[in-house]
Structure formats: C-alpha cells, structure tokens
C-alpha cells in the first residue's frame, strides 16, 4: 500500500489512506526523506487520520521520520491522530515527544506557515502529485 505524496508549494503532504504494514511505513520514511532533498521542501505533513493503529512500530517510525527530516533542514507535523488512537498510544506508554502534532491538515499547514516568515504564503496553485 503506497502512500501518495503531494507537493504543495514548499511542503510535502503524505496522506496515509489505509492501514500500513511495517514495510510500507519504512518505505514512506525513505521516500519522504529523499523527496525533501529533491524538492527542497521546507515542511512535511503526515496525515495519519486513516491509520488504523499506532503501535510501537508506527510510533517509532513516525518519530524517526520527523528526526531525519529535521536533520535535512525541514519541519514535520503529524496530523489527524484520532481520540481512540491517542488513548491506545498513551495506554501503551507511547508518546511522540519532540514531534510536532496538530489536530488536522488545516492546523498542520497553519503551523508550518507560522514557522516561516509572513512573506512566503502558501501558493494558490493545486497540489501536484509526486508519486
């Protein structure tokens, strides 16, 4: 199950559409980190609204994604963690410390926009699919 990655201005948007295997998550990580360099992206939004569970593997991989992208000079925001998923994460003892989380896509974009100067606003052009 490949995760579509859209390029929207300076941002990349990975919108998970369904349950992912561990291999899918690792592939998402590698592709995102590579794309950040190729498209010189400033920010990445990973939308996990449709992810069925956030177990220890998924949490660790999302944390790794955020850290690797940060080392490449861009910001990552995880959006769309549902209440039941947040509950099971906390019960399992999983936290996403040092990773920025926001309610949904709009809040994620607002966060990324707030991190750069007011000069460069999100373009009005349609997002382009990169894979």
């Amino acid at each position: 199950m490949e995760v579509p990655i859209l390029k929207q201005g300076e941002y990349l948007i990975a919108s998970i559409q369904s349950a992912l295997t561990d291999a899918d998550l690792l592939q998402l990580r590698d592709v995102l980190v590579e794309h950040v360099g190729r498209y010189r992206s400033r920010g990445v939004i990973v939308d996990v609204t449709a992810l069925d569970v956030m177990d220890s593997f998924a949490t660790r991989t999302l944390r790794d994604i955020a850290h690797m992208i940060r080392l490449r000079g861009a910001e990552t925001v995880i959006v769309g963690i549902q209440p039941e998923v947040a509950f099971s994460m906390v019960q399992l003892g999983l936290t996403l410390e040092e990773v920025v989380t926001r309610l949904d896509f709009e809040e994620g974009i607002a966060y990324l926009n707030s991190k750069k100067g007011a000069s460069t606003k999100l373009g009005s052009s349609l997002p382009r699919r990169t894979r």
Partner: protein
C-alpha cells in the same frame, strides 16, 4: 487455566490468522477489530484490541518468524469479551520477568510491547520456555 475452568464459554467460531510476515500483522489486527466491532465493543476498545494484536503479532514475526494469532469471542455469563492467543514455536523467552519490564528489548526496539499489552488488556498470561516457544493469552472485557 482453560476457558472452561474460568466458566467462560466461547461464542461463535474462532478466527485463526497465520503469522508469517508483516502483512499478516495487519490482517490479524483488522480481523480482531472486525470481531470486536461485530460484538459491540466501543471504537476505543476495538482500537486497543487491534493495537494489542499488532504488538503480539509483530513479536512473532520479529522473534519467532512464524506462528499464529487465535481470536475468540467469549462470554462469562454476564459479559462479553475477546480472547487473543498469540502462539509460536520460536526460541522462547528465558527470563520472563525481564521481558515484561518496561523498556527491555533484545532487538533494540522500544521494549514497550509486552508491558504495554498487559496494561491495555484486562487479563494477561504468558507461557514461554527456551526452545519451546511462546504463548501469550490476553482477554479484554467489553465495558
């Protein structure tokens, strides 16, 4: 202790999912969620159940390579529950106390799986012996 000893009866057919690769982890947890939802577990409980299955099935893939996850809807007279058995004939665990400790991992991963699953579920039992494999049995009652 068998289900019978506890006065628990099994409702409907078991589901058995063979675990051989990471895609079977997804199959097992989705089957578990579907069974929980069909038995009127609340969405938050169904997510806990799917998450616990995911952790247990991943341990099979990681440490035993192959095994199976068995799911049963059970009833103890006044409430429904779901019982999850994750069984393998892998290397087993020599020091169970240590394996249950928060943060202990022989694979460099988070080591939250077993203690976390115990916290998620209402009942938890693990039987394991080196060379004989591992069997984790957990139960979650519907609230």
């Amino acid at each position: 202790m068998s289900a019978k000893d506890l006065g628990i009866s099994v409702l409907g057919a078991d589901a058995r999912v063979q675990i051989r690769s990471d895609s079977d982890i997804v199959v097992a947890r989705q089957k578990g969620r579907a069974m929980a939802t069909a038995s009127s577990f609340a969405p938050a409980e169904a997510t806990l159940i799917a998450t616990a299955i995911s952790e247990l099935a991943r341990n099979i893939v990681l440490y035993a390579k192959t095994g199976e996850v068995i799911l049963k809807i059970v009833d103890n007279g006044n409430r429904h529950g779901i019982k999850i058995i994750a069984a393998d004939e892998g290397p087993g665990i020599a020091d169970l106390d240590r394996a249950m400790q928060l943060g202990y991992s022989t694979s460099g991963s988070l080591g939250l799986g077993l203690p976390g699953v115990k916290r998620l579920m209402d009942e938890f039992e693990i039987v394991s012996a080196p060379g004989k494999g591992t069997r984790v049995t957990v139960l979650k009652w519907r609230t």
